[in-house]
Symmetry: D2
Subunit: 385 residues, 4 copies
């Protein structure tokens, strides 16, 4: 039976509930604060493109590939030629995001942000360099130089992670596919084999529009969510996770073992912010983790990067470039937007999850939408349509 299911997956590479349109958290009536942009996605920030390369394949001996790569390009195809100011932060550093040392030192993100599985950081790193040499021009020293930003979370429960199935070409494919518009969520790209709060999870996104000094700015967030334990999960402030304990079907090898769970968050904005201000933005992501009930496990690599698509003159590296910066005293709406969009992006990743069987037959169930709605309704926390 499962084998048939696998064949289906292999052929279609579609989510298991392919007949239903994508459901997002606020479609279910889950309450959130703030005003989302038109797509409620990171791509609401003009210029940002997202590409997913999803790798779902079954192997002999009950092994399975459930992984991929997600690429976020701050300025789409122009991202190699024109850097963006950036900053990063973390809650718990049991993970990797390459390139952050130069982001911190130089204040710029120079190219895309990639997300994949833990053991494929190297392949994606090489893939970005190959792609840059193929796509981008040499820098003004006459050389190609590249220090790619590659984040990861661990999908070794559902994915044959040691098989190193992500190759450099997959990174290039994700980069080539990247587009504006709606962003697929759940088990796609880097999120393919990920779980959060012991449910199937993966990629999620959301956005907020907010006014700062009479200008309207957008904050967009994309997460690869792979963190949290079932008991911790709070949605709409209600500790719903523990009400799902009867459904705990996560076939851990050792229930008491520590999972290598993690959360990668990318925050984009068109508000003109300097590198130190983007670091401040990135640091607010922890607050949204707190809202979801997370307590910051030792095994988690919770790493956050924020960039601003404004100040393209600065990115050109000209001595007389004119730069703008939202005054510190006006940043509160952007902080709020970051916290609120991150919370929703995480819950979107969870809601977009679909039951998945993966490597060695490991099976992870998605959260039951109807049961979730019922619990929230009981607590007067469901937004009824």
């Amino acid at each position: 039976m499962r084998m048939i299911l696998f064949c289906l997956l292999t052929l279609s590479a579609l989510p298991m509930h392919a007949d239903t349109a994508p459901v997002r958290a606020r479609d279910l009536g889950i309450p959130f604060d703030g005003i989302p942009g038109p797509l409620n996605a990171i791509t609401d920030v003009a210029g940002v493109t997202v590409g997913h390369e999803t790798i779902i394949r079954d192997l002999p001996d009950n092994r399975a590939v459930r992984t991929g790569v997600t690429a976020v390009l701050p300025r789409g195809r122009n991202s190699l030629a024109l850097n963006v100011y950036a900053g990063w932060s973390l809650l718990n550093g049991n993970g990797e995001m390459t390139g952050t040392t130069w982001v911190e030192e130089g204040g710029f993100l120079e190219g895309p942000v990639m997300i994949t599985n833990t053991h494929s950081v190297g392949a994606v790193h090489e893939g970005v360099i190959q792609w840059r040499v193929a796509q981008g021009g040499a820098d003004d020293t006459g050389y190609y130089w590249s220090n790619p930003v590659v984040g990861e979370t661990w999908d070794g429960h559902l994915n044959d992670i040691n098989g190193l199935h992500v190759r450099p070409a997959h990174a290039a494919a994700a980069l080539d596919k990247a587009s504006s518009g709606a962003v697929a969520e759940g088990s796609v790209g880097g999120g393919t084999g990920m779980t959060c709060f012991d449910f199937k999870c993966g990629i999620g996104t959301a956005s907020r529009v907010t006014d700062v000094n009479a200008s309207s700015y957008t904050v967009g967030v994309l997460v690869q969510a792979n963190f949290g334990s079932r008991e911790e999960l709070r949605i709409g402030g209600i500790p719903v996770g523990r009400q799902f304990s009867g459904d705990l079907i996560y076939s851990r090898i050792d229930p008491g073992a520590q999972m290598h769970s993690s959360l990668i968050v990318i925050v984009a904005t068109d508000a003109p912010l300097l590198p130190y201000q983007l670091k401040r933005i990135a640091r607010r992501v922890s607050l949204a983790m707190g809202v979801t009930g997370a307590t910051g496990h030792n095994g988690s690599g919770d790493i956050f990067i924020a960039f601003s698509t404004a100040n393209d003159e600065a990115a050109r590296g000209l001595p007389d470039a004119t730069i703008h910066s939202v005054p510190n005293g006006s940043m509160n709406p952007l902080f709020e937007a970051t916290v609120h969009a991150t919370e929703e992006a995480i819950i979107n990743a969870l809601v977009a999850g679909r039951d998945m069987t993966g490597d060695l037959g490991h099976y992870v169930r998605a959260i039951d939408h109807e049961k979730l709605q019922k619990i929230l309704r009981q607590h007067g926390r469901l937004v009824e349509k």
Copy 2:
């Protein structure tokens, strides 16, 4: 004349429910996770003592003093002779905690942690040095040397902060008074003039007891809470703050102005943790801020320090000292305890607030306990007794 005024104050400046014993958040039925220690206070960590010096005085011309100093001694009177391993972190750095540079570099907290108002950091800094010279012996160089840890939050709304009413002797008094046992909360010590979520607030404390590798450890938290806006406030996950908007009586000079609000958090534990592990503990405080709805305002100085009373051999500085450390992989229960105790300590500070009139007649109302209970009950979030 002043004496008469004092009497009036003594009679009136009492908590509104003066006839009842101090009320704490869980007494009201507010739900929290984890198991508190006997006192549900930072003093549940053996050896930790707390002292408050509260300064409430009315001045001519409608000026008023509503401020003070709180002292936390990691090893009580032995704190000068025997350092503790420590680490610190922050969410937003618009504030001060002196001494953190040496805590970070040297790994030890060498003496007490003091909390006062923003403009009294200098006086308390000097007071700690005077007290050390009076109390402690010279170090092994034959000299007295001191780099005190003094945190602050801003009470200039209720307190004549520029009057610099905290003197070095007040710091010494707080240190001398420090004791184990129950800890007064609300408008005491450094918390005297503080507000949070636009309600009267101040000092709060809580603790958790947890097992790590079959050993039982305690995590105790003390906060000086002066952060957050009314709309943000969530209690038990419910956004209760916005339901209190009709009660908004905070007489700000300019309602749109940014307040210099902040949160100082001290986390104590008897679990043997190394400096880097205590930094990890301190970083989890942000998660608890997130649970309360905070989004990390620009004007907030949210600074956190954590210390461990274990490893007193290391503190003696002997070459052959035996040190212990909870393995990283066993730290999750301590992270949970930190998040849960911090959340409760903040809400305790809020619940302990009592209406206060202060400088220039500024008036800040405490949160209405009964209304709060009613809201939580409506959402099925009140723990009924």
Copy 3:
């Protein structure tokens, strides 16, 4: 005999070689790289003012006061109204510089940088707040708020440090005296009782002028030097310190004891640099320490702050402010200028030292200029006039 010396000091409060004009390192032929500004001082950066308040007084029972306060104002009297972008770094954090947490978070230095002795940080902190309330206007919230930056090094060998002789009024005096023009070096202001490499030392300054993209910029440095052991000292690359071992007259209580030595460095520039770039500048100070032979003692608080007087529009906090930034790729001349000016400022502080007798009769000798010249000449490293 020593009493007579004290009387002389008390009467004249002049350096012992009062009949000679101030001698600076390059006057002696010590070789340095780069081109200094007209004053070879931090005040070569337009707008920067420096004020010293020196406290030299003899007390009964062989006690003596040899201390003071130095104030550096980035924009002179306009420093309170108009902040400067800033960044900070350190080599070893066994010391204090208050206010750095907000400098890091907010990217601005809001007022002066003060330097004093370790135990007077509190008094100077309070003094700056008093001075601000007296001088500066309220901020746009209608409140006075202040988070002063106060650095320190330890002068307890020559100065009765526990006597707390620096009072808030001394800080105000240093601020009031601050002026442009030549800067007194050696045993003045905060440097009064300081020693470096076991010689008398104190305040030193230097500057460099350099071209960046066809614009000429100045980098000015002021140090309070109180670090290093005799054997380590290298001047002009020659390990001269060990050749002075016969002159070692430093009356330490315990020769093997660790001194609480430190180095505070302030780097000013008119080059338009953003906060992250100023942090990079501050980090280069360590390289200059290396040139002098320092190995970074445990007991040293080596803390560095850098600010830029450009971008006054940004400092006004207006949403449409135009900001400029030297491109990262053009910063090398500024890095060089920082290293070279810091090296010279440290050696200037050393050369400006004069023999001093202080607290409990402790005596510290200045470095012998002629002997130093002789050593350098032997090694072909003296710049002959």
Copy 4:
């Protein structure tokens, strides 16, 4: 003629002066401080092994491969099973060292430190994971998890860096070859195509033996040196670099262009140090850079990691492990050893350089030993044998 030379290189893969025995800096009479261990190499720290995989190959169209991988294993073959405490720091972050986020968070280095060229970070990252899966056992969760530490410097002048000639198998080869004993220097392993101060450079190593509280400890350093400009170079304190300007034959595409130069430094010690203390050690590396005249170029990735082979009990992750730590107050000899050994390791890398022709016919000359000796002798700075 050059073609013949290339053939020779391809056949023998030997340095050009293959007939001479390796020459080290102190063999030439260059003066250094401190007492080296028996090998004057990082391998003087018991258990540390080093392996180089050198890739020298000529390609059609005048392209050439001059690159490689160097592996440092803290505990030799036992490095995967038994972590070491570690800390890291940097001077300028224009570079990459993967894995540092977890080193900082968790306090341990979990496996080898690898060094390669900038564009081969990905291949080496993957190579370490493959090697771990092949060599090491699963961790106690039943999974293989790996977050390799891979540093890099840029060899694109002599090496066809975009050809991605380092493959995962080369990383495994370097790991498999790693041994104790003498360490090859110069153009080997990751250092094959590197230059420093515009001379041929590469790998260098040195060590110091020092007493701390009557125990003897070793500090060993290995560098991959690829930083600095000719004019800056100081050896033995003498600015020798500018005396070699007539020999400047470095065929840069654009002499004014910024090179992507860098310095990776690995510090090993058997002294029992905790993670925060190892970070302190790593931070001292900057001082040694200063001694060599470096001013910290924008294009440099100067990243340093330090580890201690002591405390193997802690590495086992047992709750009752006994840990030791050198008291902070006793660390000065270790700081000195770090600075002195790093200085010598850098100069060893320079002295070990041999003229090399590489990619596109680019030619880099080694420093002329005799001329260097002559200059030092003129300044009385040569240690005559």
